[in-house]
């Protein structure tokens, strides 16, 4: 079982990202789950979304999770929420920030000794899509770090999932995924 927790702000696309990832994974024959904690969260409120992936039918519906991966798609959440809660020694972090990984860990001691990768999904999204929607670039970074799928296969799959959007926006998302894939450190 692979488990992922997303830290996001409502409106940044974590739910769409989690569902998009689940959709891609599902096409490869694996079982998936994508869900989120909503509450009555308003745009901008801190929230979490989740993915589970397994070779077998997923029966577990508890919200509690010891994640294998933690995605942080808003830079400030590293300081205002505990992104390390319920982690395990092998948990891998992919965090959106304009800082280097060393600078980030120095600024948030909780990340000390953990497997942390950084990428500026906000900047990438602004420069490609034109809006600070950091969900698709995070998935590009995840493909690089996890080696889950070939990036070309992943982009083709995401094209299908984003097909309702105008072609220009779809292309911009593909650029964003590729850039995050190339730039994550």
């Amino acid at each position: 079982m692979l488990e992922i927790r997303w830290h996001s702000r409502a409106g940044q696309g974590a739910v769409t990202g989690a569902k998009g990832l689940a959709d891609v994974v599902s096409t490869t024959g694996k079982h998936v789950q994508a869900f989120a904690f909503y509450g009555s969260a308003k745009r901008g409120a801190a929230m979490t979304a989740y993915n589970r992936v397994d070779d077998h039918e997923i029966l577990n519906h508890e919200k509690y999770m010891n994640p294998d991966f933690v995605f942080v798609i808003d830079p400030a959440l590293v300081y205002t929420t505990d992104v390390t809660i319920n982690d395990k020694p092998e948990t891998v972090y992919i965090i959106t920030t304009h800082m280097s990984t060393d600078e980030l860990v120095a600024s948030q001691p909780k990340l000390n000794g953990k497997k942390v990768y950084t990428v500026d999904c906000i900047k990438i999204a602004q420069e490609t899509i034109g809006r600070a929607i950091p969900n698709t670039p995070m998935l590009g970074a995840f493909m690089k770090i996890s080696g889950m799928y070939d990036i070309e296969f992943f982009k083709e799959s995401m094209k299908r999932i984003l097909a309702k959007l105008p072609p220009k926006i779809v292309d911009a998302n593909m650029d964003a995924i590729q850039r995050a894939y190339d730039e994550v450190k």
Binding site: K19, A22, D23, V32, F35, G39, L59, H61, Y64
Partner: protein, 406 residues
């Protein structure tokens, strides 16, 4: 003629999407709805299908859930296939009309995305609204995941609209835990799905002007009891055979098997939990892990809540020594509904069983695997002792000092 929609064999859908797609595929004549969290996307998606030409029927926007069900009742009495969706406060506002629908023998399908009832206001999932509907004369089916929310809609239309049944049917799913959780859903193509339910055949329809009928009459002590008795009789005797037949036909079509009472590892088990919704699946996962450790534990999931499957549950509980009834609704002054219903079912079984009650998960509070392991440990101790080793009712997963009764 409505356009067909191309679906992949497996779509990644949440429970709301699954329910709305099933509603589209059966080609409903009238949906009157007033959206409410967490069932809103069912209504939203359905409106979308209709606006884009995938549905031929009518969508009626109304001013409240009371009006939504009233509109459904009117349309159903007129002689059409009718359905809607709601949750929580909306369901509560519908209650008066729910009894009208069942009393008038109108085969309406209602998707209920289960959510807590205020106060305090809460949008998350528990079974308060589902429990509120249990005396309303409706058939109640319960889905544990998005696949089942999809499948059970077809079962609901087929059973409710059967001329020997003609009773409305609710399809329940857990708010957010199912309704907003995307999982793989195996789909039926549009024609196959529609044909499983078939064309709507009206009965006693008001638009059949050659055969005038009256709906919604007044009967006092002269006839009221006879109407209610007939309705109760049909619920008790006619519904289960039709559900069984629908489950059999559905298995033949899809390979997916449903049962009136779902059992996991109950053969030779010492202790079982009885629950509903997503908790059934989480409990199965825990029971599997405990079985691997040699613990004789199982799970019973209630698939049909009304009519209450007394005989099927009694059969499933044969030989079981300890039962934990897990209620996801505040009983507010008594034992949980499942505890009371199960007590009624096992009391005449001739076997001695220890029955205890756990109230959990109110307002969306997580039911964790750790909770379930603790419950199983207590139930196994009860089975061993042959009597309760804990208070009869316990609240689990609630902060503060332990709360228990009796």
């Amino acid at each position: 003629m409505a356009d067909k929609m191309e679906l992949r064999d497996v779509e990644v859908w949440d429970g709301n999407m699954a329910a709305s797609q099933a509603m589209r595929q059966v080609q409903i004549d009238v949906v009157a709805a007033y959206p409410i969290t967490p069932s809103t996307p069912i209504v939203e998606n359905y409106g979308n299908y209709l606006a884009n030409g995938y549905v031929d029927g009518e969508f009626v926007m109304v001013e409240s859930e009371h009006a939504a069900m009233s509109g459904c009742i009117g349309a159903s009495a007129a002689g059409g296939r009718v359905a809607t969706a709601t949750s929580s406060q909306g369901f509560a506002l519908m209650v008066e009309t729910l009894y009208q629908a069942s009393g008038m023998r109108l085969p309406i399908v209602l998707n209920v995305v289960n959510r807590a009832l205020a106060a305090p206001l809460n949008v998350n999932g528990d079974h308060s609204d589902m429990y509120l509907g249990r005396d309303s004369g409706w058939i109640q089916l319960d889905a544990y995941n998005p696949q089942q929310a999809y499948d059970l809609n077809f079962i609901a239309f087929r059973v409710a609209e059967d001329h020997e049944v003609r009773l409305p049917c609710m399809v329940h799913q857990d708010g957010f835990l199912t309704s907003h959780t995307a999982q793989g859903v195996k789909t039926l193509d549009d024609d196959t799905a529609y044909n499983f339910v078939g064309e709507f055949k009206p009965m006693n329809d008001m638009l059949d002007l050659d055969h005038p009928v009256t709906h919604g009459v007044q009967t006092e002590e002269d006839w009221h009891f006879e109407h209610k008795a007939r309705q109760h009789n049909d619920l008790m005797t006619k519904v289960f055979p039709k559900i069984e037949a629908a489950f059999d036909a559905f298995e033949k079509l899809t390979g997916r098997r449903y049962n009136i009472v779902e059992t996991y590892n109950t053969e030779g088990a010492d202790a079982v939990v009885v629950c509903m919704g997503t908790s059934v699946e989480t409990a199965i996962e825990v029971a599997k892990e405990l079985r691997a450790d040699g613990k004789k534990v199982g799970v019973i999931g209630i698939r049909v809540i009304r009519p209450w499957p007394h005989a099927q549950i009694a059969e499933a509980l044969k030989g079981i020594k300890a039962i934990g009834a897990l209620d996801r609704s505040s009983p507010n002054g008594t034992f949980g509904m499942l505890y009371n219903e199960l007590a009624g079912t096992v009391v005449n079984s001739g076997e001695s069983k220890v029955l205890t009650n756990y109230v959990y998960g109110l307002g969306g509070r997580d039911l964790t695997k750790v909770h379930l392991r603790e419950i199983y440990a207590e139930l196994l101790a009860n089975a061993e002792a042959g009597k309760p080793t804990t208070p009869l009712q316990q609240l689990i997963g609630v902060r503060g000092p332990k709360i228990s009764f009796h």
